[in-house]
């Protein structure tokens, strides 16, 4: 198996995740897109780890998973707060910083 196929897959997932972050209005969906990005990174890590026969790639992927989980938890809490304060999680309405 070529390395590149995994890497290209990861790149594709990453770009789709970026598209999702930029396009989605709902905050939850943005978070989901962020998950896509993180997973793409994970694939990259493991692929390189396997390439170089280094276990560090997997270990790093594990840590990434843990961090992603923590991040989702906090993100969700923030979104809940946002919902509580303004009854909507539409990101296009969150433009108080508009200058």
């Amino acid at each position: 198996m070529l390395l590149n196929q995994f890497l290209l897959l990861a790149a594709a997932l990453f770009c789709i995740g970026v598209y999702g972050v930029l396009v989605r209005k709902n905050a939850m969906l943005v978070l989901m897109s962020v998950e896509l990005i993180l997973n793409a990174v994970n694939i990259n890590l493991v692929a390189f780890g396997t390439l170089t026969d280094d276990v560090g790639g997997e270990v790093f992927a594990l840590f990434t998973i843990a961090v992603a989980a923590a991040e989702v938890g906090i993100g969700l809490a923030i979104v809940l707060l946002m919902y509580r304060n303004r009854r909507s999680i539409d990101l296009s309405e969150a433009d108080l910083m508009k200058g």
């Binding site: 594709a12 990453f14 209005k25 939850m28 896509l36 692929a47």
Partner: protein, 177 residues
């Protein structure tokens, strides 16, 4: 592509099979990701996300990282997606179709995405054009755990503290008082 096909033809059956599996799973993943970012139903988006995550786990197995694959399924699909669904519920998202894609941003975002992909792809194809991933045997869990608790002990502890912080933080941020 030719290198891919060449690789496929010149390898043994196992590798050919692996490549086929890889291709199928990769296609599913891509479709799933696209659906995540384009569907107007938020629950559907979460479910398509599950598909993607599962695909990722399969890729891990293909790469011989079994422990990571299992952890991926447990944590991501089992916890994170559930969390997402909870969030969806708590924020009273309309469960039906919802216009949750901003029309005006689509073009620009698509452009950005494409641009990014082109750049990255170009770089990747240029750099690792002929590298192969050779898996003699899947990674042993014992080696992973040895590595975590010896070489990467400090990041491990840091991550645990991070999780603690995230835990407390989430409670603090989201509590009603």
């Amino acid at each position: 592509m030719t290198a891919l096909l060449a690789g496929i033809s010149s390898d043994t059956d196992i590798f050919v099979l692996q490549n086929i599996f890889f291709g199928v799973i990769a296609a599913v993943m891509i479709i799933g990701a696209l659906r995540v970012v384009t569907t107007s139903n938020i629950v559907h988006a979460a479910l398509w996300l599950v598909v993607v995550l599962a695909g990722v786990a399969a890729q891990f197995i293909l790469l011989g990282a079994e422990f990571v694959a299992v952890t991926q399924v447990l944590v991501y699909i089992g916890a994170v997606v559930v969390l997402f669904l909870f969030g969806v519920m708590l924020t009273r998202a309309s469960l039906g179709d919802d216009e949750s894609v901003a029309e005006e941003k689509r073009t620009m975002a698509a452009l950005v995405g494409v641009l990014l992909f082109v750049v990255m792809a170009g770089a990747l194809l240029d750099t690792w054009s002929d590298d192969r991933v050779l898996i003699e045997e899947p990674q042993r869990v014992a080696e992973v755990s040895d590595s975590i608790f010896s070489q990467y002990i400090v990041p491990f502890e840091a991550v645990s503290v991070l999780l603690l912080a995230a835990l407390i933080g989430a409670i603090v941020v989201a509590r009603k008082d």
